[in-house]
């Protein structure tokens, strides 16, 4: 039994109907019965964009959870209808870059057979609900957040009142001590909490987002009982839907509304709306039995008694230094004794970050079936996770991952770079980001032991899909007079102590980026105290030493 939501008959019928509807829309477009202006919104509603070289299809992966069957379904799209690979994104989705319009009805029909689609991966609607990629298995977790993600997803899917919001709306949910879902940079974030009475509820934060106006989310209410959470976020959305700006694209996100009203006024409006909901509030209430029924869908697999696995693991670590290095970097603690969470790096230095070939997807699906209860997660860092691996299986898994080119031991290190597609693919980009990431990763991989944990994030334009504002070192691609340049920030962070980075100086040319980043890292290594990571040092010393390092670099 897989630990994820399974479609019911209604879901299946709906998706079949949607594919049939879309197939007819494509037929009419190719026959000239629909103009591009008429067709654009229809294709976007199914996740089909037009990029520089081809159509791009974005597939939603709800809360980043995949079964092996779904991953094989994605591999088949890559193999049969694309150029043999897909790109995992910073929103736990996947994109295919070389799609033909005339193939898309068949692709969506194929995806529907594995309960995937591209609905609400575009437009001014709710986007994929994202969460902790270690959900359900993290040792620091209060509860698995995914049942709540699924409840919110079902509430949000094609919600009639919120289908034409002022702008897109991104929700993230975290249920652990450490925020691994970058909740503070989302339009609305839910932190699952247990109050002093032992009741489950949520801290609700709103108004986070990056782009041209980066802002961290602010708390609207410290504790909303889980029974009321759908009603409360309905109130949050209702205030945004009423007052959010539709006259200016650049001021249309909820972060701008919260900033202009002020959090106190926004909170007052939400509380007023929430108090006035009356019967509707009751209709949206989450009864315990409904939550329990959803939680049953995400029940963990039957764990084996794996207490004896530890000795074999330690022996393998002692015997094989390369394996030991991989264990140190790519394995995370599991709540179940004798089990581990395995992070599969999609960042071998020199390869495009987040790309995964069809062959690799199939290999990972096979490995998931063999050692991880058939389940895979996608991280917002553009890596994959096997969540249920017995420690006794780690060595063989490492060998098999290595054979597929998937055993790079760099999770959380300088070469584990977040990077958007940039100007090599994206029609919105101002500059390339992938070649910058490749050059940096190739160079910094040699220094990773010295540097330790470091998050570098790169965006090819101000829309910030690469989350550059919250990178320990952030890089933003710009275009000026036909030339690419890169603005560098330091000190950002996307965890519970989220912070926006500070600009170190004027933008540098593409060929100067690696040397400049090298000098910023040198400055960090000189300044850091024992046990500090980059954000700790930055908070202690401020921006000035890094500005100086940047200035010297020029």
């Amino acid at each position: 039994m897989l630990a994820l939501y399974r479609y019911d008959e209604f879901d299946r019928k709906f998706l079949e109907g949607r594919v049939a509807q879309y197939r007819d829309q494509v037929r009419r477009r190719l026959a000239g019965q629909l103009s591009e202006d008429e067709f654009r919104s229809l294709r976007l509603m199914n996740g089909l964009y037009l990029q520089l070289h081809a159509y791009m299809l974005r597939i939603s992966i709800p809360y980043g959870t995949l079964s092996s069957a779904k991953l094989r379904g994605l591999a088949e799209v890559a193999r049969r209808w694309d150029q043999g690979y897909g790109h995992f994104t910073t929103r736990q989705n996947i994109q295919f870059n070389w799609i033909r319009l005339e193939d898309t009805p068949d692709i969506l029909a194929h995806l529907a057979t594995v309960e995937l689609h591209g609905i609400q991966t575009s437009g001014n609607s709710f986007r994929n609900i994202t969460t902790d990629p270690f959900a359900g298995v993290a040792s620091d977790e209060i509860e698995d957040p995914r049942p709540y993600c699924e409840i919110v997803r079902q509430w949000a899917a094609l919600h009639p009142e919120f289908s034409f919001l002022p702008r897109k709306f991104k929700i993230a949910i975290s249920a652990a001590g450490e925020d691994r879902a970058a909740v503070m940079i989302h339009d609305l974030g839910l932190y699952l909490r247990r109050n002093d009475q032992g009741e489950i509820g949520f801290t609700v934060a709103v108004g986070g987002g990056l782009g041209r106006t980066p802002i961290l989310a602010q708390t609207v209410r410290d504790f909303v009982p889980r029974r009321d959470v759908l009603a409360y976020i309905t109130a949050c959305l209702r205030v945004y839907n009423q007052y959010g700006r539709r006259d200016n694209l650049f001021k249309s996100r909820i972060k701008i509304l919260v900033q202009s009203l002020g959090i106190e006024k926004y909170r007052q409006e939400v509380e007023t709306e929430f108090a006035a909901m009356g019967d509707e509030r009751e209709a949206l209430a989450l009864p315990d039995e409904a939550v329990a029924a959803m939680q049953a869908q995400f029940a963990p697999p039957a764990y084996a008694d794996a207490a004896g696995d530890k000795a074999a693991l330690l022996a393998a670590i002692a015997a094989e230094p390369e394996f030991a290095r991989w264990v140190e970097r790519n394995i995370r603690p599991h709540k179940q004794p004798g089990y581990s969470i395995v992070v599969i790096s999609l960042k071998p230095p020199g390869r495009p970050t987040g790309d995964c070939s069809a062959t690799q997807m199939n290999a990972i699906a096979d490995l998931a079936d063999a050692v991880s209860a058939g389940e895979i997660r996608v991280t917002h860092d553009q890596n994959l996770v096997l969540p249920y691996v017995r420690q006794g299986a780690l060595y063989d898994l490492w060998l098999r991952l290595g054979a597929a080119g998937l055993a790079t031991p760099n999770i959380g290190l300088a070469s584990d770079i977040i990077c958007c597609p940039g100007l090599d693919y994206c029609s919105l980009a101002a500059a390339r980001s992938i070649p910058i990431a490749q050059a940096l990763a190739m160079h910094l991989a040699k220094r990773e032991a010295e540097i330790g944990p470091l998050q570098i994030k790169i965006s090819g334009c101000i829309n910030a899909c690469g989350h550059h504002h919250v990178g320990h070192i952030g890089i933003l691609g710009l275009e000026k007079n036909g030339a690419e340049s890169y603005q560098i920030t330091v000190g950002g962070s996307d965890n519970a102590q989220a912070a926006l980075g500070g600009i170190v100086g004027p933008a540098v040319a593409a060929h100067e980026v690696t040397a400049t980043v090298d000098r910023l890292i040198d400055a960090y290594l000189r300044l850091r105290h024992e046990g500090e990571q980059f954000p700790d040092t930055y908070r202690r010393v401020g921006l000035a030493p890094f500005k100086e390092a940047h200035f010297v670099a020029r």
Binding site: R29, L30, A31, G32, Q33, S35, E36, L50, Q51, L52, H53, A54, Y55, D82, Q83, G84, Y85, W98, I99, R100, L101, E102, R351, P352, D355, C356, S357, Q360, L423, D424, Y425, R432, I434, P435, Q438, E479, G482, A483, E484
Partner: protein, 96 residues
């Protein structure tokens, strides 16, 4: 490219597969930029109008005028974006 004369040409993405195409005159669109029809700056608007003409479905989405120069037999777009559109991604990927 400094000092080379600048021409106009029309580009778009092919309707059925999204591939980058260039207007070659008449009703012909080509994936090869060297086969694009180049005109002087003042004739750009007329070229664009010709490229946009024809019954639906139009073979190319969003026909757009861009600038390019000639370098020997090569036609080289003025902007990096259009050079990438003409030549493909500057990086290798798993498929290529």
């Amino acid at each position: 490219m400094l000092g080379h004369p600048v021409f106009k040409l029309v580009t778009g993405n092919r309707l059925r597969d999204g591939k980058v195409v260039y207007f070659a005159g008449g009703s012909t669109w080509t994936p090869t930029i060297a086969e694009a029809r180049l005109v002087e700056d003042g004739d750009g608007a007329a070229l664009l109008a010709e490229a946009q003409a024809g019954p639906p479905p139009h073979p190319a989405i969003a026909p757009t005028l861009i600038e390019a120069t000639r370098d020997g037999n090569r036609v080289v777009p003025m902007t990096l974006r259009e050079r990438i559109r003409a030549c493909g991604p500057t990086i290798s990927h798993y498929g290529g």
